[in-house]
Symmetry: C2
Amino acid sequence: MKDEFAFISKIAPIKTYQSSLVQGIGDDAAVYRGSEKMDEVVCVDTMVEGVHFRRDTLSPYQIGKKGLAINVSDLAAMGAIPAFYLVSIAIPSSWNEEELAEIYRGMDELATRYNMDLIGGDTVSTDGPLVLTVTVMGRVERNQAKYRHQANAGDVVFLTGYVGSSAAGLELLFDKGVGGEFTVAEQVLVHAHQEPTPHVEAGRILATFHERISLNDVSDGVASEANELAEASKVKVTIEADALPFHESMKNFSREKQLDWALFGGEDFVLIGTVAKEYVNKLSERFRKRNVLFFEIGNVEAGEPGVFLKDGQQVTRLEKHGYNHFQKRG
Amino acid sequence: MKDEFAFISKIAPIKTYQSSLVQGIGDDAAVYRGSEKMDEVVCVDTMVEGVHFRRDTLSPYQIGKKGLAINVSDLAAMGAIPAFYLVSIAIPSSWNEEELAEIYRGMDELATRYNMDLIGGDTVSTDGPLVLTVTVMGRVERNQAKYRHQANAGDVVFLTGYVGSSAAGLELLFDKGVGGEFTVAEQVLVHAHQEPTPHVEAGRILATFHERISLNDVSDGVASEANELAEASKVKVTIEADALPFHESMKNFSREKQLDWALFGGEDFVLIGTVAKEYVNKLSERFRKRNVLFFEIGNVEAGEPGVFLKDGQQVTRLEKHGYNHFQKRG
């Protein structure tokens, strides 16, 4: 069957696809050359019922919305503009048509906000839990995609929003149940868990900043994501405990819980990144003008790759053990 | 949060993505404008253990290879050149690392043949059956993608390979088990089921033919796929029973079985399409030169959309009930 391949090569040199592969696996999304002006960004994420979500903490609508949000967050972390999505879903008989429609309505709600088109998918049956796989595609100006491996010594570490809220909301849901009575402050945290907002605008500010930026999204907690930046960039990252930004709704919880949720909780879907110290004011000014949050939370030094938490005089190493939901793998 | 969207619109008009959407859902793959010269084609398919495959008929290597082949076949049906793939897999604890590696080896084997790069994916755990979701991306010369809705009255219906072999192979596997003793002829059929070849080369001949072509791949049996062509194109399709091409390995089976497998078996992954009668000789000559099979099997007329089988003087309507494996949905 070698002929078949040779024939294809003759018509259009597939080699150009390989050489146009800007970045492979490593970051959560892949980037490849699209047109003269824009690179293409694509990624896929899977959510399994009982592993990544439970029906007693998320409604079908929220499952859909969050399933797409997780993927759009990966695009945001590359600085990309969301464009298309495809939905593949394996459905057990315990889900009815209305619940299924609610999943799609949740995705459509978020997609409409970003002008994303649903362009494909597959619907199959399963005897197991519901499995929702979303593929998203976006575009970013040529060579402007942001990666994890771009941090250098001398950089400042930043976050584009509050952390810990989602994990706090999940704990509240576990405590009181989805129908529980929540204070206004608690509702904010529960909402942060149930309907997270991907930081697309922050990603676009960073992609159009035209200075070196390293970037990642906080899906697994600050400790895990900072470690990914440190490992990919081969640098030492130090985070100041007192600089971690918490939403005011968190203030009734102990400092210990706040830190634990921020560092190891995950699913906040803000962006974490680094920028050279000399550009940090210019960058934070861009965020301020757009009314987008920007917090300096630490710094980057040369050294053995790793992440450290500085809390007053105490410095402790932060291992890369992120939020694992209720599962072993993934 | 409307601001966020407005901001994105200002930087890059997302509307251009929407207007550049050449074709939405309907065909198995979506096409959108990539560069000046090439359109992008993308599709996704999910295989569930116990629904789309069973471990007693396919090895982990074959599950991987077939999982990718099914998707590449969707690209072939659009006339596209395969380029990239992403793999999302939900794994139960009953699968070990070696078996998992075999799934990826099977995909890699097929991908290498088409110079496809694995550019992303997700690996998660599940308490249910294994769920394998593959997203594939390819490219086709601008405006040359082939669709189901292009059949016209006066067209000839063609197939690019033998049909029924996969279903025959599956029946043999059910009868004798994967370790059973198969004759050489039977091995051919079993192989057709376990390691189908997507018809990429045929798709490329058709995409570069520059005449109107309607096209679909035979994943669910000729009856089902011909009905999709008929419905999408709003035409009446007649298939000649005696023109259906069977591999010589099928000759020991009854004609009734052969027809049943071809029409309702599925998973042959040849292409079925139509072309105007005046171009059929020119087209079949192109296939002959490339040593790719091409069979005329019927014709297209104006009329109520539907598919009919002409067997001697007898004409029967073929309903769109394709091969459903062992499942209800998908």
